[in-house]
């Protein structure tokens, strides 16, 4: 029997879960946890804002697929975490946030730095706990990790009052670490029916999403795609699950898809959705999405089946197991007519990149960065125009290579997520494509990057605007610009240097290509400022609420003349 405090028990249980790094910030109500952390073999990364800690943990979780942990104190520490937790909920990321809480006797008294963390996080977590005794941790911690990683992954909050952290408890045996429940396999008859529908279809398309990445099913997916000659589009979060240069890969669908990709989905007679949730940015007007298609929808979350689109066949099962079964069950096919039709659409309506060779063009900087990076590089983005340009133009070739805030669309995601990715994958370079609006939302994490000396390069597409807001005002608000232009333009390289981060400015050098290559090759953190023309828009664009067939801009002929 061993006597320990609740805080020591918590750290012991986290170690047994295999947690190697925790991002966080200490404060009054989680100091016992930090005292135990000091004595633990777990590494701590001191973020500069709790939202940064949350996204650092998300970066670790997105790269590894395993639950990652962040710490915050009560009150403002917990409220600062909320955005990162909500982001993890919408993108189904396994995250375990451990928050300090005021002592039990003070709960409900409006004590200093008291907030109802449990109540605040009910709607943005997969599950949450308020721990009422140190002994409860024996159940709560393994359960948190099991729930975070089981089925559709998601974030968990464990709120621990300070006196529970200090409470002494006698421990005989520690519980087994929490592991994910075995994922549900598909029913044989559903697989047979789906395979028959694929075999019978003349114009089938696969649409793959985050579920394929979460199921580690990229290899299996490829077997199915190759065997049955299935053109494959991806959601924003599915990018990389099929390599960009695979002949059947159509790239991203939806609001900023290549014209040809949306056209292929418009023409398909069977849509097989794998680990997707028919998000409105992907479907456009849902009622007019894939209008002529029967739908097979595979998802591990039963509530996604029929939530937006009623499938002809809904399969509630692990996408990986379903793909394995489907790859075995479908008949080999080559689909020459459909393949020709798609090739023609892609030739006539490709993604049009205005100046992919110009390093100061939005597409150009993304292509040049990709060309310099080694193949094992990891890419994160913030949210806005640069995110969509990167989604269109960055050649993703592996799952978990592309980390972006899809569902919540959180500006400020990119830098801390990149730090987390670098911590989880040491030795692999990480690039964060950001914008001048997004970067400022978590710019303080440059200090964390400098302190940890992580190999993270921020490539900053700087147009002195909230560019996507400006674009919406131009296209849908009659050009009435308001609050989308930054009149004070910060000196980002100077800011980076002030944080102890090296910086380069492609607008101030003779040979931007060479400077970019030099910056990306330099060890440790860095920032590359890239001045971008503020008039550049992301095209094509489906107007919000419109059908995917009604795209604005991005025609091939428009740029030819």
């Amino acid at each position: 029997m061993k006597r320990m405090t609740g805080a020591e028990l918590m750290l012991r249980l986290l170690e047994r879960q295999g947690v190697g790094t925790i991002a966080g910030i200490p404060g009054g109500c989680n100091l016992p946890l930090y005292d135990a952390l000091r004595a633990s073999r777990i590494r701590h990364v001191l973020a500069r804002h709790e939202q940064g800690a949350g996204f650092i943990a998300q970066g670790m979780a997105r790269v590894t697929g395993r639950p990652a942990v962040c710490f915050a104190t009560s009150g403002p520490g917990a409220t600062n975490l909320l955005t990162a937790i909500a982001d993890a909920k919408l993108d189904s990321i396994p995250l375990v946030a451990v928050t300090g809480q005021v002592p039990r006797a003070m709960i409900g008294t409006d004590a200093f730095q008291e907030i109802d963390t449990y109540g605040l996080t009910v709607p943005i977590t997969k599950h949450n706990f308020l721990v009422r005794s140190a002994a409860e941790l024996l159940d709560v911690v393994p359960a948190a990790f099991r729930i975070a990683a089981s089925g559709r992954p998601g974030p968990i909050v464990i709120d621990v009052p300070k006196d529970v952290q200090n409470e002494a408890v006698d421990i005989d045996v520690l519980p087994a670490p929490g592991r994910p429940d075995p994922p549900p396999p598909p029913r044989a008859e559903d697989v047979a029916r789906a395979a028959a529908m694929i075999d019978a279809a003349e114009r089938p398309v696969l649409l793959i999403g985050a579920g394929v990445v979460a199921a580690d099913a990229a290899q299996t997916l490829r077997r199915l795609v190759d065997k049955a000659a299935l053109p494959t589009a991806t959601t924003l979060l599915g990018l990389g699950a099929l390599p960009h240069d695979h002949p059947r890969c159509l790239g991203m669908v939806g609001m900023h898809a290549a014209r040809s990709t949306n056209m292929v989905l418009e023409e398909c007679d069977l849509l097989v959705g794998l680990g997707i949730r028919f998000d409105d940015r992907a479907t456009g007007k849902a009622a007019e999405f894939c209008p002529g298609a029967r739908i097979v929808h595979v998802d591990i979350d039963a509530s996604e089946l029929g939530k937006i689109k009623t499938p002809t066949l809904g399969i509630r099962a692990d996408v990986g197991a379903t793909l394995r079964a489907l790859a075995a069950a479908v008949a080999p096919a080559s689909r020459p007519a459909w393949t020709r039709r798609i090739a023609r659409l892609r030739a006539e309506h490709p993604l049009v990149m205005r100046a992919p060779d110009d390093p100061l063009d939005p597409y150009g900087i993304i292509r040049h960065t990709a060309a310099v990076l080694p193949p094992d590089a990891i890419v994160t983005t913030d949210v806005g125009q640069h995110q969509m340009w990167a989604a269109q133009a960055f050649p993703c070739s592996r799952p978990r290579q592309w980390l972006t805030s899809g569902g919540l669309g959180t500006m400020g995601f990119g830098l801390p997520a990149a730090i987390g990715a670098a911590l989880a994958a040491p030795g692999r370079p990480v690039v964060c494509f950001s914008g001048d609006g997004s970067l400022l939302m978590n710019v303080q994490e440059l200090a964390t990057a400098a302190e940890e000396n992580v190999d993270v390069k921020v490539v900053l597409l700087n147009n002195a605007h909230l560019g996507l807001v400006r674009q919406h005002q131009e296209l849908f608000f009659g050009g009435r610009y308001h609050a989308s232009r930054f009149h004070a333009e910060p000196d980002f390289p100077a800011i980076a240097r002030g944080f102890g981060v090296r910086a380069w400015d492609l607008g101030a050098v003779v040979d931007p290509r060479a400077t970019l290559a030099e910056a990306l090759a330099a060890p440790g953190p860095g920032l590359v400022n890239v001045p971008i023309d503020a008039a550049e828009n992301v095209y094509p664009m489906v107007p919000p609420g419109g059908a995917n067939r009604d795209m604005i801009g991005g025609e091939l002929h428009a740029t030819a003349c």
């Binding site: 109540g119 009910v122 997969k126 599950h127 308020l130 729930i147 039963a302 509530s303 029929g306 009623t310």
Partner: protein, 174 residues
């Protein structure tokens, strides 16, 4: 829109009602009536709620409830033989002229007068929602000053029970 009575068996733990109610408000579903209490097993509570919606909405409600960790099982009483009851307290103004009529109506509806005052009585009525609607209509002309009602509760007819249904399913799986 169909009106549905749903029983949700949940782990009897801290915050479970907030989770269930929050799911409804967060996703824009409606709760028309709500009743919560422990079951025979003190570790399990039964939340009985009434909601309305098309079949697709009810399917979402059921699926989203099932995703909540403390939810053990969701039962929709739709299409099954069951009984439903609510309890209502009705305060009615009375005078010499109306007292007799009030007592008559309460008697016919097998209600009880549980508080007798010189100017008002409190009536207790238990029953199906149709019966309750009917007595309220009849008492209105006398002068109702307050109505307080419980949420609806429901139970299958015959030997079938919620706990039994869970056991049967477990056996089927095994």
């Amino acid at each position: 829109m169909m009106r549905h009575t749903i029983s949700v068996l949940v782990e009897n733990e801290f915050g479970v009602l907030a989770r269930v109610a929050g799911m409804f408000s967060g996703r824009g579903f409606n709760i028309e009536s709500l009743a919560v209490a422990e079951t025979m097993d003190p570790t399990v509570s039964c939340i009985t709620l009434v909601t309305a919606g098309e079949d697709a909405v009810l399917e979402q409600i059921t699926k989203q409830l099932n995703k909540l960790v403390p939810v053990i099982r969701v039962f929709d009483f739709k299409d099954s033989a069951h009984v439903e009851r609510e309890l209502v307290l009705i305060k009615v103004k009375i005078d010499e002229r109306t007292r007799g009529e009030l007592m008559n109506v309460v008697d016919i509806f097998r209600g009880k007068i549980i508080d007798v005052g010189p100017q008002s009585h409190v009536v207790e009525i238990t029953g199906h929602q149709d019966k309750i609607a009917a007595i309220i209509e009849l008492l209105k002309p006398l002068g109702i000053t307050e109505i307080v009602r419980t949420g609806r509760v429901a139970m299958w007819r015959g030997t079938r029970t919620l706990a039994g249904a869970i056991d049967e399913e477990k056996e089927k799986v095994a």
